[in-house]
């Protein structure tokens, strides 16, 4: 997996990161976060640095399909994982339904939190589809069944992504629309689930 260059105490490693389906081999200082590796080493600047402390969500990416903050993930620990950034969520020229909904419903203003909001929303929709409850789910017991993805559920699940411009209302509308798109696709054509995911 990991090609360590030195056996004794070493402060850097050559690693291979799999990002948006493409492999990138690079030497990294162990201190380098996945966020800085993306932005400063690989010119994948779509992932944003808002706080660098896990307190704003702007750097949200998908690690093995799950939303995570890249600022608290050391690059060296991301080796061997499937990394999806905002640059990799569209299907070629065709925007991901979440991207499309953000664009049409004006789910942003300055745009800086947007890649993180979109990656988070993709994660939220998948987590909800998997039946995960949230902090506002009235009854978390499995017998109660999965909660509807109401505006309140979306707000709670998206709360790890701050938007200082205050575009929250249209972001929630965009997430709801994209979730509906996924649900419609899943109902119409059970095999299409993968395509949306």
């Amino acid at each position: 997996m990991r090609k360590k260059q030195l056996m004794a105490l070493s402060t850097s490693s050559v690693i291979t990161l799999k990002i948006n389906g493409e492999k990138h081999t690079l030497p990294v200082d162990h201190r380098t976060t996945l966020l800085d590796a993306l932005r400063e080493r690989l010119d994948l600047t779509g992932t944003k640095k808002g706080c660098d402390q896990g307190q704003c969500g702007a750097c949200t990416v998908l690690l093995d399909g799950r939303r995570s903050v890249a600022c608290l993930q050391l690059a060296v620990t991301a080796e061997g994982r499937e990394i999806t950034t905002i640059e990799g969520v569209a299907d070629g020229e065709r925007l991901h339904p979440v991207q499309q909904a953000f664009l049409e419903l004006d789910g942003y203003q300055c745009g800086y939190c947007t890649p993180g909001q979109i990656c988070a929303a993709i994660g939220v929709i998948e987590e909800h589809a998997a039946g995960w409850p949230s902090a506002v789910t009235e009854d978390v017991r499995p017998e109660a069944g999965p909660p509807d993805l109401t505006a309140e559920e979306i707000r709670e699940r998206m709360s790890g992504n701050l938007c200082r411009c205050g575009a929250y209302v249209s972001i929630v509308e965009a997430v709801a629309r994209a979730a509906q798109t996924r649900q419609d696709a899943a109902t119409a054509l059970p095999d299409a689930e993968e395509a949306v995911a």
Partner: protein, 330 residues
């Protein structure tokens, strides 16, 4: 952040061996707290041992009817697990009330137990702090402390433990399992966190070189009707200013069993045993709930700006126990 060596452990014995007794080496789980602390300079390890790949990522039922939770189970997986939600709903709620979806996908159970306080003086290396730099003083006592401890604190440190998960685990008598070079060991969560005293920098009773391997929850039928309520300064994605994990079993109008643990009021999750003693055997009702809260909070020693926490916890106990009683009556 200083430069550091990095190694991945693939099994428990290997991880323990890699750590050895080096005080400058740290285990790295999800990194959501450690990496942040390294950035702020609070932690300056020379070496990290990455334990994310250890085969400790399962939640399993124990033969007695409890659960065994691996140390590298993520917060998200713990909260989503059907048996956790069925048998210990307050634990699922507590985990879901913490941090954000992203952080819950990264953070691990073992790391969550070892979270450091979010006291603003502790995280700012330019300020004194007895927890970070023993003997340097505690500016919070005279300074900003509206979210600091009312129970079990000392003049040396008034910081609170930030975990939500650990509050629910404390209510349900969780036991922490660990591995050392000399073999495995276990600590009830009640004994896991050390009293503050004059050594606030010594936070847990884990022996040096120990790796947390998991947590077991004994069977607790009372936990099936349980609830976690967290109060914070915004509706989500914020640390608690007061929280409560509670479970209640009422039969024929009498409290048969009760579990209560408080969060964000002490240097550790605070099991409210005095309150439980008042409750068990008492006639269910707001009067008993208030008396229970008062019994626990009699020991509170609020600071000039956090006295509201006494009212908050009292009100939470009454409100949440009333809700649980109502739910049971339905």
């Amino acid at each position: 952040m200083r430069e550091f060596d990095y190694q991945r452990a693939h099994d428990v014995a290997g991880a323990v061996a890699l750590l050895g007794t080096d005080p400058d080496t740290r285990f790295l789980g999800g990194g959501t707290n450690l990496v942040d602390l390294m950035k702020s300079g609070v932690e300056r390890p020379a070496r990290l041992v990455d334990i994310r790949e250890l085969p400790l990522d399962d939640v399993e039922s124990t033969p007695e009817g409890g659960l065994r939770i691996g140390a590298t189970v993520t917060n998200a997986d713990l909260a989503a697990h059907p048996e956790v939600r069925r048998r210990y709903p307050a634990l699922a709620q507590a985990v879901l009330a913490g941090a954000s979806g992203q952080l819950r996908n990264m953070a691990t159970v073992g790391g969550n137990l070892l979270q450091r306080t979010r006291c603003g003086y502790f995280t700012d290396v330019t300020r004194p702090c007895n927890k970070r730099l023993p003997g340097s003083g505690c500016p919070a006592v005279q300074g900003e402390h509206h979210n600091h401890a009312i129970l079990g604190a000392s003049d040396h440190c008034v910081a609170v433990h930030p975990s939500d998960m650990a509050v629910a685990l404390t209510a349900f008598d969780a036991v922490v399992h660990f591995e050392t070079a000399d073999g495995p060991g276990r600590l009830p969560l009640a004994d896991f966190y050390l009293p503050v005293g004059d050594t606030p920098h010594r936070e847990t009773a884990l022996p040096p070189g120990a790796l947390i391997t998991g947590v077991t929850l004994p069977p607790a039928p009372v936990a099936a009707r349980s609830r976690y309520r967290k109060v914070r300064e915004r509706a989500s994605y914020a640390f608690a200013i007061g929280s409560l994990a509670a479970a209640l079993d009422i039969r024929d109008g009498v409290v048969r069993d009760a579990r209560l643990a408080f969060g964000a009021v002490a240097s550790r999750p605070w099991r409210a045993l005095a309150a439980e003693r008042v409750l068990v055997g008492a006639a269910a009702g707001a009067e008993a709930y208030a008396a229970a809260a008062d019994a626990e909070l009699a020991a509170a020693r609020p600071l000039p700006h956090n006295g509201y926490k006494v009212d908050l916890m009292r009100n939470l106990v009454v409100a949440v126990l009333s809700e649980l009683a109502e739910e049971a009556a339905r």
